[in-house]
């Protein structure tokens, strides 16, 4: 305990304890002060630790062991926090964006009757997330992993009076359990083969003795861990919970379901990058799932009308990009996009929250419009975020997304990278299209709200707009720490993270790489511009095009609108059979076999009891008879037994 990094997760825990235990008796203002100031303090400690880390140079790392948690033979789990380059980035993003959203929540939730419960959950979430990113041991990481899952469940179902919200929380929890099972099996396989779950130790052991893992075992472990990541980070096939998770309060969607928790899977793979590079099969699968998810979720995003649903699918799609990045071995690019995404997606969600707040809970973009005059700050910050996610230079999203596309194209995995790149580029067009569709429909044109709602539209309070501006600034400048060398930058971000990640080559030599990178850059720009232009054409210039299109391809539109009916498919092939199985077990196995055994046991006991009861009837002559019979028996044995 020679440094203070253990205080970083501790402070939100203290906030959780205070607000959770006595928050109901405290005035709301005090609850907000406690709930916001502790995360902010933990952000400053993270910044301080970051500066300390910079002093230590490339191989520097801060660790802080609190105590030994589990000792079982050779298997030891320490409660150790590790502050290296990767956890530094994650801790800064989590506590920084987290603090901003806490502040925003104080304004957004000010008239909610469960104000203190909200802040205690939010603080608990921040604690779990910080444990997750600071954990040195996979067991401790798993503790945080489950903790954020729990908080996600609690906060999705925060307004549990409405059955739909409670159901959405349950769905998120159950789908995550499926993923977590995979994670757990992966951890168990690591214990069997490598013998420790301590990440740096694992790395050292593997470097010293690469024979610990066969290629097949490495593939199995990484795939099982990846199953956990698909659950937590909403990738195909376990993405279905995230759109429903929008039932929670909007700041929760911004913090948990956009900026931090859902990126835990990307972080985990990046953290275990040295394992993943051992299995090219897994790498290709991860990249493929990521790119397919990016495209698939983007197409659904085109047809949604609920502002939060559009953003939810956009989140799934952007997470797909991150998985594409870590899949092709560009771990730093994945984390870079994770960071910029945290800024602009949190901003988008908070902007959406500001709109919803102003429009008395309205979430359908068809009932919005004409918000520029009435909500100028929300309007401009939302525009910045939309430009960022579309990949317009020099905003943050441009650098991070372009980096991923380039790394996918030039991956050491071979020419399959072109496929990932092509899917990614197509998704980029669609992303720019649906985000600007959302922007044009929701913010520009004439207001389509009812007169009642219209009267109330107002700009949000300062505690909310200040956060929007702050995140807007970060969305603009956040990319400059990772400007590629091609554009005259020096890619500080990648160099900073370099000590953590394995180094994988590119399939191009330096000269052809240069040419290719310029071509791809130009194509990315064309993609973003064409997407925006298409949206402008369809939703501003000739607004009848969408209607004609929907009429002409109604079946296709309905299919996309209904999210390809994957929920219904899962319902038919998984939930329904399980339900039937449940009915079978409850009506036959339980009421006949289990209850039957119980009844037989009780009946036999009663019968046996009745049998022996006759010996205890109180009739002396019966006692006498039994006595005599026994005596005779003994006599016979004594007399004849000896012969």
């Amino acid at each position: 305990m020679d440094n203070v990094i253990w205080i970083i997760p501790l402070l939100p825990l203290v906030g959780f304890l205070i607000n959770g235990l006595v928050g109901r008796r405290l005035p709301d203002r005090l609850v907000a002060i406690i709930g916001v100031s502790l995360p902010v303090a933990s952000f400053f400690i993270a910044v301080w630790s970051f500066l300390e880390l910079l002093k230590l140079g490339d191989e520097g790392v801060l660790t802080s062991t609190l105590y030994t948690w589990i000792v079982s033979g050779d298997f030891v789990v320490n409660l150790t926090f590790r502050f290296d380059q990767l956890s530094a980035v994650m801790a800064l993003v989590v506590s920084g964006v987290g603090s901003a959203i806490h502040l925003y929540s104080a304004g957004y939730m000010h008239d909610d009757k469960s104000f203190s419960r909200y802040f205690s959950y939010l603080n608990l979430f921040l604690f779990s997330m910080l444990v997750l990113v600071l954990a040195e041991d996979l067991v401790l990481l798993f503790l945080g992993w489950e903790g954020v899952g729990l908080c996600s469940y609690l906060l999705i179902g925060f307004w549990f009076d409405d059955m739909e919200n409670a159901k959405a929380g349950k769905k998120a929890f159950i789908v995550n359990r499926i993923g977590d099972l995979g994670f757990f099996v992966g951890m168990a396989l690591i214990v069997i083969t490598i013998g420790t779950l301590n990440v740096p130790e694992m790395k050292n052991l593997l470097e010293a003795n690469p024979g610990l893992l066969t290629a097949g075992m490495a593939t199995a472990i990484t795939l099982f861990l990846f199953v956990g990541a698909t659950g937590k980070s909403a990738q195909i096939p376990l993405y279905i919970w995230l759109p429903d998770a929008m039932a929670g309060p909007t700041p929760v969607s911004a913090l948990i379901h956009a900026a931090t928790m859902v990126t835990a899977g990307v972080y985990m793979i990046a953290r275990l990058g040295f394992l993943y590079v051992l299995s090219p099969t897994t790498m290709i699968i991860v990249a493929l799932i990521g790119s397919l998810t990016a495209l698939y979720a983007a197409t659904i995003g085109m047809a949604q009308n609920d502002i939060k649903k559009v953003l939810a699918y956009s989140t799934i799609s952007q997470l797909g990009y991150m998985f594409m990045a870590v899949g092709v071995g560009a771990f730093a690019s994945g984390i870079f996009h994770l960071m910029t995404h945290a800024f602009f997606k949190a901003l988008l969600f908070l902007g959406a929250g500001s709109v919803i707040h102003a429009m008395s809970g309205e979430q359908d973009i068809r009932n919005m419009g004409g918000l520029r005059k009435k909500m100028p700050i929300t309007f401009w910050t939302f525009l910045v975020a939309t430009l960022t996610i579309s990949g317009i230079p020099p905003l943050a999203g441009f650098f991070s997304k372009d980096e991923i596309l380039w790394k996918a194209f030039s991956t050491h995995l071979g020419s399959i990278g072109i496929l990932f790149w092509a899917i990614g580029l197509l998704s980029a067009v669609i992303t720019a299209f649906y985000m600007f569709r959302l922007f044009f429909v929701a913010f520009t044109g004439e207001s389509r709200a009812s007169e009642d709602v219209k009267k109330h539209i107002h700009e949000s309070p300062f505690s909310m707009t200040s956060v929007l501006i702050l995140l807007g600034i970060f969305s603009v400048i956040g990319g400059f720490i990772g400007v590629p060398e091609l554009l005259g930058g020096s890619n500080h971000f990648e160099h900073f993270l370099a000590p953590i990640f394995p180094h994988l080559g590119s399939r191009f030599d330096a000269h052809s790489a240069h040419t290719w990178e310029i071509i791809l850059l130009a194509l990315s720009l064309v993609a973003a511009a064409s997407g925006i232009f298409l949206a402008y054409l369809m939703y501003v210039k000739k607004t009848d095009i969408p209607k004609v299109f929907v009429k002409k391809y109604n079946a296709l539109y309905q299919l996309v609108y209904d999210k390809y009916r994957i929920d219904e498919l899962y319902g038919a092939i998984f939930i329904r059979p399980f339900f039937v199985l449940g009915v079978i077990f409850s009506s036959i196995v339980d009421s006949w076999i289990i209850d039957g055994i119980v009844r037989i046991v009780t009946m036999a006991t009663a019968k046996l009891g009745r049998l022996f009861m006759s010996f205890q009837g109180g009739d002396v002559r019966v006692y006498g008879r039994v006595l005599l019979g026994g005596l005779l028996l003994i006599l016979i044995i004594v007399v004849f037994g000896r012969v």
Binding site: S614, Q616, G617, G618, D619, R621, G624, R625, L628
Partner: protein
């Protein structure tokens, strides 16, 4: 000539009669008498062995037993008569008023 064996067989027969009486009869008085029969069969055995082994201590025991049996009869008869007076029952199967449950 009457040997020890004859005495022992007689004692066994008396014991069996007494035993049979205790186990089969339901009248308290008869059961008490049957118990006395068994006691006396034991006396007979003692005396027979004392005679054949020439050990006088075998003669002492029947006297003790008779004394104890007399006491026992005095107490036993007193109880039986009291019960009979109280409940007009001399049948053992009817004597269940000391417990709650019915005999099986």
């Amino acid at each position: 000539m009457i040997t020890t064996t004859h005495y022992l067989v007689l004692a066994a027969i008396i014991f069996a009669i007494g035993c049979f009486g205790v186990l089969t009869r339901r009248n308290l008085l008869v059961m008490l008498m049957s118990v006395e029969l068994m006691l006396n069969s034991a006396n007979l055995t003692f005396v027979a062995f004392a005679k054949s082994l020439g050990d006088t201590s075998g003669h002492i025991f029947p006297i003790f037993i008779m004394t104890v049996a007399a006491c026992e009869v005095a107490v036993g008869l007193a109880i039986i008569i009291t019960i009979f007076r109280m409940s007009k029952i001399s049948d053992v199967l009817g004597l269940t008023f000391m417990k709650d449950i019915k005999s099986g």
